[in-house]
Amino acid sequence: MAFRDFRLGVVDMLPLLIAFVPIGALWGALAAGKGLSPAEAGLMSAGVFAGASQFVAVELWHDPAPILLLAFTVFIVNVRHFLMSASLSRHMGAFPKGTRGIAVYFMCDEAWAMAERRALTQELTLAYYLGLALSAYFTWLFSSLAGAVFGAQFGDPAAYGIDFAFSAMFIAILAGFWKGPRTGAVLGASALAAALAKLFVPGVWYIVIGGLAGVAVAAALYEEEAVAA
């Protein structure tokens, strides 16, 4: 049962894993270009495991590494994970005691989105979640190591549209959350707030700002309905 769920998680994640490979390799090659050894690049993929923030970190990288700047920047880029793991914690009821803290260590955007998608239709099990998260973790780790050792053998992921696979996946998952006009209002608010934040707020706060705007609208609409009823 547990193994079947784990395998199902890996299989559901497979299209994304394919997209992880060239992007991980590209990151590894960029890291090597900045003077990181393969071991150091692997250590970063294993210890940070957050693609967008790793690209930003490599961009900022110089020798000696600006530790505080890197840690602070990576924190800001990953602030969205507060909201993601908070949301996911509501679906971790079936996880054995003491496993949640370890489980979220391996949570990336893609595994989070797939887990939320799963929780829409059935109970999320630890095994299924680990199938998603661990397959992503090790694919990212090994492809970034390969990139650091051999260079970006796959060339530019954009040439194959691989970079767009993540957007397409998020769009596909988003459709499953549609519950009618109220979802439309939530998404509209989120889209508008995120777009404005992207234009006017430096950094990557737009994800958090858009997410909170959507939540605010959902809360407001709930009240309206309660008053009407």
Binding site: P38, E40, V48, A50, L83, M169
Partner: protein, 100 residues
């Protein structure tokens, strides 16, 4: 295969900062009574975050990405399997990048 101590410290700091965001979220709702309006608000969190991830990236990358996102959205609304939806998105962006 060498690891510089200073580099290792930088990676450790980055790793702790990232894990902090992931772990912190688990405690965010610990004392929140998830009912009624709070529940409705939290139910909106995943789609709202997804939307906030998607929109700026597909709007600011280029016209090809924006149009491909629209095509992908149609495929998604038709409830095509996820893999098919992703392939539709990736193929359209490759074609559109070639054309536009």
């Amino acid at each position: 295969m060498s690891v510089d101590l200073h580099t290792a410290l930088a990676i450790l700091a980055m790793g702790l900062a990232t894990y902090g965001t992931r772990l912190g979220g688990l405690y965010l709702l610990r004392f929140v009574n998830v009912r009624g309006r709070t529940r409705a608000a939290l139910d909106a969190l995943p789609p709202a975050i997804l939307m906030a991830v998607i929109v700026p990236s597909v709007l600011t990358t280029g016209v090809a990405e924006t149009v491909a996102a629209g095509i992908t959205a149609v495929a998604a609304m038709l409830r095509l399997p996820m893999l098919v939806t992703i392939v539709v998105g990736v193929v359209s962006v490759v074609i559109l990048r070639g054309v536009l």
